[in-house]
Symmetry: C2
Subunit: 453 residues, 2 copies
C-alpha cells in the first residue's frame, strides 16, 4: 500500500517549475574549479531556482518542460564583451592588408557607402545567429545605428549591452560627439526598464574623441551610473603617436579626464607598460581582450597573464567579424588560452578554468551585470550553453573542462538558453530564421560587389 | 535526325573514366592564386587526368561515378607534416603544466606504462579518423612502434610518411639508436614499393641523439635517399643549453654532421637567429611549423614570415593531440596565418593563398612527394578535400579563399579522397569505424585512469 500511494503523494508535493535540465556535467564557474556530475537545474521565470543531484530533482520538481542533455556539458552562456555585430556583413570583404590600408581603403569607404539601419539590422541578426549557434548569450556591441541593434536584440531574445558609438567627426549616424551622446541617451531612456538590454557609452578611441567630449562622458557616466567602453592601446603605434601629440600615454590621459573606474571597459590593451597596468588595477577598470583580432590586424600582444596576476578583470571579445573573421567565443577563448602561455613564456599561464571564467563571469563583471549572469548559481538568470562532448575529435574524454577549452569550438554547441528561454534547440535557432539571414547576407554581398542595386 | 543521333554518337565517343567531380569552386594551389569556377576533375586509377569546365566535362567523359559538390570548395588534400598520431589517446590527459613538468611527470610516465602496438594502432586510427574528418589526406608521423602505425595507415587508405623515432636511450620500442635504425630500415624494406606509404628517419631531437647516431643517419639518408625529420629549436632554452654544452647552436651542429639538406625537415624552429635562417635557406632544408603546440607549451614564436621571405619552404604540422589538443589542419593553418601577422608586425604577412600553400604543396615538398600530391594538377594523385561554404557563419561569401582560411575549420569538411578513393563521404568515414574508435578510446581512458585493467 505504501508503495502504491507514495509516488502519488510525492507528485502532489512536487514543486511546479518551468524547466528542469538534467546534465551529465555542469561547470558553474562560480564557485571556481567545480564540476557537478549528474546534476539538474530548476528554472522558473527565467531564473535558476535550484541546482541539485538529478535523482533528487526528479522527486522534488514538476516541470512544465524537462530536458536530458546526454553527453553535453552545461556551462554559463558565453559573454562576448566586444563586438561590432553588423560588421559580419563585411566578413572576408578585405583581408591581409596593413591596418591603415584596411581601414582607409576598404572598411571605412564600405561603411560610408552602405551602413544604415537596414545594414545594421541584417548584420546584427546574422551575427546573433552565429553567436547563438556558438554558445554566446550576452554580447556588448559598439556600432552605428544602435537603435537598430537594440531592436534586433530585443526581438531575438539575447542579452546585450548596446554601447553607442561616440566620434567627434561626422559619420553615417551622428554629426558630432554631442549629437551621438544625445541620441544615445535617448536610446538609454527607451530601454531603461528592459531586463536584457543595457545601454552604454562607447567613445570610439583616444584618437577620435577629444577631451571635451570625453569629459562630458565621464560626468554622465558617473552621475547616471552608465558603463563606458573604449578601444584603447590597440597598437604600439597608437600609443607612440598619442605620446607625441598629447605628451601622455592614452591610459593616463583617460584617467586624468576621470574616465577610468569600475564602470570602464578598455578594449584591446596591447603595448602596456607597468604604469598602465598599475593604473588599470588601481581604478578597477576592466579589459576586453580580443586575441584573434589583435593577431589578424598585427596589433600586438596583450599581456593577459600579467594583467590577471595584477588582479585586473580580463574578459574576452571577438571584435567584429571583419577582423577575426568569426564570432565563435569558444575559438576565441581557445586562442586566448594558448596565446597567453606563449606571450608570458609560461605553459601553466591561463589554465582552462581561468580561460572559461574570462569568457563568462569576467565578462559579466566587465559589463556590470554579474548579479544577473556569468555563472550557474541560484538566483541568476538561466543563461546557459550546452556543448556536445561526444564527437570523435573530443575522445578520449579524460577531462570535460580540457575538452571544452582545448578541443571544442562553436560547432559543438547544441543548446542555448537566455533568461530561461531556449534560443538554440539541438542546433536550430528558435527566434531567428537561418535561411532568411543567409539570403539577406547574399543580397548584401551582391549589393556591395556592385552586382545589383 | 541529326538531333536524335548526335547524343548517341557523343556517348559512344565519351572517354571512360572512374570518377568525375563537379565543383562550384576549385583552388588548385598550383598554379598560384587561381580559382576555377564551375569546373570538373576527371580521375582514373587514382590520378587526376583532366581539369576542365563542367559543361565540357559532361560531354567528354563517361564516368563510373559522378559527384556534384554543390556549395563546396575543392582544394588539394591537406598535408600535416608533424604528428605523433597515437598520442591522440592522451588528448586532454595533462594540460596547463610547464613543458618539463608536462613531459617528465605526465607524458613520459604514461607513455612508458601504456605505449605498445595496441595503443599505437588504436591511437593512430583515432587520429586518422579525426584527420580525415578535417580534410587531411597525408601526414608525417613520428612515434614508437611505427610498424603498427604503418599497418593502420595501409588499412585506412591515407597517405603517410612514417618517420620512425631514433633515441639513444632505451624506450618501449628500441634499446638504442642502432636498434631503432635497424628496425626502421626493416620497416622501410617492407614498404619500399607501397604507393601511399614512405618511411623516414626521425632522430628525436638534438638533446636526445648523439653525434655518432646522427652521423650514421646522415650517411644512410644520403646514400639511400631517405628523408629525415627532427624536432629542432623547439624552445629558446633548448638552444641555450645546447650552446652551453656543445659550443654550437643545434642547427649549426646538425649542419656540421651533414644532416641539413633538401631531405631534412626541421620541426618547430623557434628562437632562430639570422645565421640559423641563412643556414636552413642555403642547405634547402624544410620547416614544419606547429603554431598551436608552440603556443600551448609556451615554446616560443617561429619567425614564419621571415623564413618565407628568405625563400625557405615552410609547411604546417599539428604536432600530437596531447599538446594541441586536436589535429584540425584548417584550424592550425588559421592559427599560422593569424600568428605570422602578429609576430612579424605586418597584417599583410602570410596572406590566405600562402597559408593554403603551406598546408598543401609546401607540405608535399617538405616530405619529398610533391611529384605525387599537394596540388590539383593533371598527373597528380587525386588527394582532395571538399569544404562546405554554405554554413551561416561563413556568410556572406565575399571570397571563398578568405572563408577557407579565416572562417572554416575541420567541421566544414564534407568529402575527402586519397589516391582517388573516397575516404570521407558526406562526413562519413568509409574505411574506419567511428563508433568502434570511440569505444576503444573510452576503454583506453578507463585503463589510463585506473578504472579497469
Amino acid at each position: 500500500m505504501v508503495n502504491r500511494t507514495a509516488p502519488t503523494e510525492r507528485t502532489h508535493n512536487k514543486q511546479a517549475i518551468d524547466t528542469l535540465i538534467h546534465a551529465r556535467w555542469i561547470i558553474p564557474v562560480v564557485p571556481e574549479k567545480r564540476l557537478y556530475e549528474n546534476c539538474s537545474l530548476a528554472i522558473t521565470n527565467g531564473t535558476i531556482t535550484a541546482i541539485l543531484p538529478s535523482s533528487e530533482a526528479r522527486n522534488r520538481f514538476a516541470p512544465k518542460e524537462e530536458r536530458q542533455l546526454g553527453d553535453q556539458l552545461l556551462i554559463p552562456g558565453l559573454i562576448n564583451t566586444h563586438n561590432h555585430a553588423a560588421m559580419s556583413l563585411l566578413r572576408g570583404f578585405a583581408d591581409d592588408y596593413p591596418l591603415m590600408t584596411w581601414l582607409e581603403k576598404h572598411i571605412w569607404p564600405a561603411e560610408q557607402q552602405w551602413v544604415g539601419p537596414e545594414f545594421v539590422s541584417d548584420g546584427t541578426r546574422l551575427a546573433m545567429a552565429e553567436m547563438l549557434r556558438s554558445g554566446t548569450t550576452t554580447f556588448c556591441d559598439q556600432y552605428f545605428f544602435p537603435e537598430a541593434t537594440a531592436a534586433a536584440v530585443r526581438e531575438a531574445g539575447m542579452r546585450a549591452q548596446i554601447a553607442f558609438p561616440i566620434i567627434d567627426s561626422p559619420n553615417n549616424w551622428s554629426r558630432n560627439g554631442d549629437d551621438a551622446i544625445e541620441k544615445g541617451l535617448a536610446l538609454r531612456d527607451d530601454y531603461r526598464s528592459h531586463h536584457r538590454i543595457g545601454v552604454a557609452f562607447a567613445p570610439h578611441a583616444p584618437y577620435t574623441v577629444g577631451d571635451e567630449t570625453l569629459k562630458k562622458i565621464a560626468i554622465y557616466a558617473n552621475e547616471l551610473g552608465i558603463s563606458v567602453q573604449m578601444h584603447l592601446h590597440e597598437t604600439a603605434g597608437e600609443v607612440e603617436r598619442a605620446v607625441a601629440e598629447t605628451g601622455q600615454r592614452p591610459t593616463k590621459r583617460l584617467h586624468n579626464l576621470g574616465l577610468l573606474s569600475p564602470q570602464f571597459l578598455a578594449v584591446h590593451m596591447t603595448a602596456l607598460n607597468d604604469d598602465d597596468i598599475a593604473l588599470i588595477q588601481k581604478t578597477g577598470a576592466h579589459i576586453s581582450h580580443c586575441p584573434r583580432s589583435n593577431l589578424k590586424l598585427a596589433s600586438g600582444f596583450s599581456p593577459v597573464a600579467k594583467m590577471l596576476e595584477a588582479g585586473i578583470n580580463v574578459s574576452i571579445g571577438t571584435d567584429g567579424a571583419a577582423s577575426n573573421n568569426g564570432l565563435d567565443m569558444l575559438a576565441e577563448t581557445n586562442t586566448a588560452a594558448l596565446l597567453a602561455k606563449a606571450v608570458s613564456g609560461q605553459a601553466d599561464a591561463l589554465p582552462a578554468h581561468q580561460a572559461l571564467a574570462m569568457a563568462t563571469i569576467n565578462g559579466a563583471r566587465a559589463l556590470g551585470i554579474d548579479d544577473v549572469t556569468g555563472s550557474i548559481e541560484v538566483g541568476k538568470a538561466a543563461d546557459l550553453c550546452a556543448i556536445d562532448l561526444s564527437a570523435l575529435e573530443q575522445q578520449p574524454l579524460h577531462d570535460p573542462l580540457s575538452q571544452l577549452i582545448y578541443t571544442a569550438n562553436g560547432h559543438h554547441v547544441r543548446n542555448v538558453w537566455v533568461a530561461g528561454k531556449q534560443l538554440l534547440k539541438d542546433r536550430k535557432l528558435t527566434t531567428l530564421n537561418e535561411e532568411e539571414l543567409k539570403q539577406r547576407a547574399a543580397n548584401w554581398r551582391d549589393r556591395i560587389a556592385g552586382r545589383t542595386h
